[in-house]
Symmetry: C2
Subunit: 162 residues, 2 copies
C-alpha cells in the first residue's frame, strides 16, 4: 500500500506554497525529504527518511534530515508521533485525521472520520484549558497480526512493519 500519487502531489503543492509563505527555501534535499514522508503510510523515523531520500539524493546527510524534519515541524508543515518505544516518527498528513495503532507490531495508519472530528468535549476539560481539536487513537490488532495469531496460536512474533 502507498499514498496515492495524486495525494502526494497535493501535499507537495501545499508544502511548496506554505514554504514560500513561511520564508524557507525550497532546496532539492528539503523537497525530497518532504516527499519521502508525504508518500509514506508508515510515519517513518528520521533514520528511515534518511535511507529513503538517500536512494534519490545520494549525497544527503543524516543531520540535514534531522534539521529539516524539526524545521518543518516547527513551521507546522509536518507533525510528529511516537507510537512505541523507538524514536519519534513524522507525519505529513495535514488533513484532519485519526490513527489506528496496532498494539502488537506498532503499525500506525491514518483514517478520516467526520464524527471523530466533531466530538463534544466533556465539561471537565474546561478546568484544564481551552480545547481546540480532538484526535482519536484507535488501538487494536492489525490484520496481519490477527492472521498470525490464527496460524501460530498466541506467540507474539517480533516483526517489522509492512
Amino acid at each position: 500500500m502507498k499514498v496515492p500519487s495524486v495525494e502526494v502531489e497535493r501535499r507537495l503543492a501545499q508544502f511548496k506554497a506554505a514554504s514560500r509563505k513561511g520564508g524557507v527555501k525550497l532546496t532539492h534535499q528539503r523537497l525530497e525529504i518532504f516527499r519521502e514522508i508525504a508518500a509514506s503510510l508508515e510515519h517513518p523515523d528520521a533514520e528511515t527518511v534518511f535511507r529513503g531520500v538517500q536512494r534519490r539524493v545520494p549525497t544527503v546527510s543524516l543531520d540535514t534530515v534531522y534539521r529539516t524534519l524539526w524545521r518543518l515541524n516547527d513551521l507546522g508543515l509536518i507533525t510528529t508521533r511516537c507510537p512505541r518505544r523507538e524514536s519519534v516518527r513524522f507525519d505529513a498528513n495535514l488533513s484532519r485525521h485519526h490513527h489506528f495503532v496496532c498494539t502488537r507490531c506498532g503499525l500506525t495508519r491514518d483514517f478520516e472520520s467526520g464524527e471523530f472530528d466533531e466530538l463534544r468535549i466533556p465539561e471537565s476539560v474546561r478546568a484544564l484549558g481551552h480545547a481546540e481539536t480532538t484526535q482519536v487513537e484507535v488501538r487494536g490488532v492489525c490484520l496481519r497480526c490477527a492472521k498470525e495469531t490464527k496460524t501460530k496460536r498466541g506467540i507474539a512474533t517480533k516483526k517489522e512493519e509492512p
Copy 2:
C-alpha cells in the same frame, strides 16, 4: 496539584497484586519507582523519575530506572506517552482515561469520559484491523498559557511545565 493519596494507594495495591501475579519481584526500588509515576500528574520521563526516586532512595541508579520502567511497560503495569519532542514519558494511570495536551507548553493531563470510552468506531477502520479501545487526545491551550497570552500579547515564551 497532586494525585490524591487514596488514588496513589489504590494504584500501588493494584501494582503489587499484578506484580505478584506477573512473577516480578517487589523490590524497594521498583516500588518507589512505581510510586513516583503513580503520584505524578506530569507523565514524567525517565530522568525525572530518577531524580524523584533519588530523594528517597539515594543509591538508586538511572539504569535501574530505565530497566524498571520498560519492564513495567512490558508487563502492562504502566504505559507510555510522548507528547512532544523530548523523550518518552510514563503513565501509571491504568484506568480508562483520555488526555488533554497543551500545544504551547506540552502540559499533559488525564481526564475521564464515559462518552469517549464508548466511541462508535467508523466502518473504515475495519479495513485496518480489529479495534479494541479508543483514546482521545484533546489539544488546546492550558489555563496558564492562555493567561500568559492575555498579559504579554502573543509572545510564546518557553517555560517548564507547572
